[in-house]
């Protein structure tokens, strides 16, 4: 059973296009995240959602818009793709971050490798 899944695994597209990445988790978690990993393998948080409510928008351009139709899904839509958007995007999930007084472990998906030409 795949705990956190993402589609597609690879995405190659032209500059200026609009694309979406989908994420689903079957862990029963309440919180979901999007991270970006650059070419130097550095992971940085972009968004977090708790029970479909946006919690973090970490200085991400407005071209990136997350959407959570329910607490098991968090999708990422990117408008007007730029060369600098090329990276690996990871979805993650955890138990409800607002219900615990300690850091909740985040479980990551396999990643979506985006290449903008």
């Amino acid at each position: 059973d795949t705990a956190v899944s993402q589609t597609p695994k690879y995405l190659v597209t032209q500059m200026g296009n609009d694309k979406s990445i989908k994420c689903e988790q079957n862990l029963g978690h309440d919180t979901m995240y999007w991270y970006k990993q650059d070419s130097k393998k550095f992971l940085k948080i972009m968004f977090s959602y708790n029970n479909k409510e946006l919690i973090i928008n970490e200085t991400v351009p407005n071209r990136f818009s997350p959407k959570s139709p329910d607490k098991a899904h968090l999708n990422l839509h990117i408008n007007s793709l730029e060369l600098g958007d090329s990276a690996v995007y990871f979805c993650a999930s955890s138990q409800d971050i607002r219900a615990s007084g300690v850091g909740e472990t985040q479980y990551f998906g396999p990643g979506t490798r985006l290449l903008v030409l």
Binding site: L43, T105, F108, G111
Partner: protein
């Protein structure tokens, strides 16, 4: 500013040669420190969570320890299948309601047979 620094950046070991990876952190109150393993082309795989200084956790050949300033990932008698990038991340107390993890740049471990 909260930050995480991992050292060394790369480590080559012979099979069976034990060593340690370091994760130094500066954070205004620690809510949790996390170790992950990442294989090429895959997502980070959870290894350990540590919450307070003095805490230790073990799993097979790996042991993670935590002090107030750093964490170590000790690898005992490593095997080639332990080759991967090991990532350290912290969650600050002020970010408790956001879940924000601050990652280090990782240590890439290569274990030769």
């Amino acid at each position: 500013e909260d930050q995480v620094t991992q050292s060394p950046e790369a480590l080559r070991l012979q099979e069976g040669e034990s060593s340690s990876l370091n994760c130094s952190y500066t954070v205004s109150g620690l809510r949790g420190l996390f170790w992950y393993r990442q294989d090429p082309g895959k997502g980070p795989e959870f290894l350990f969570t540590l919450y307070s200084a003095g805490e230790e956790k073990e799993k097979e050949r790996l042991k993670a320890t935590l002090t107030k300033k750093e964490s170590f990932l000790h690898i005992t008698a490593p095997k080639p299948e332990d080759s991967a990038t090991y990532l350290c991340a912290v969650q600050a107390r002020w970010s408790g309601n956001t879940g924000k993890l601050i990652f280090g740049q990782g240590t890439t471990l290569q274990v030769k047979p």
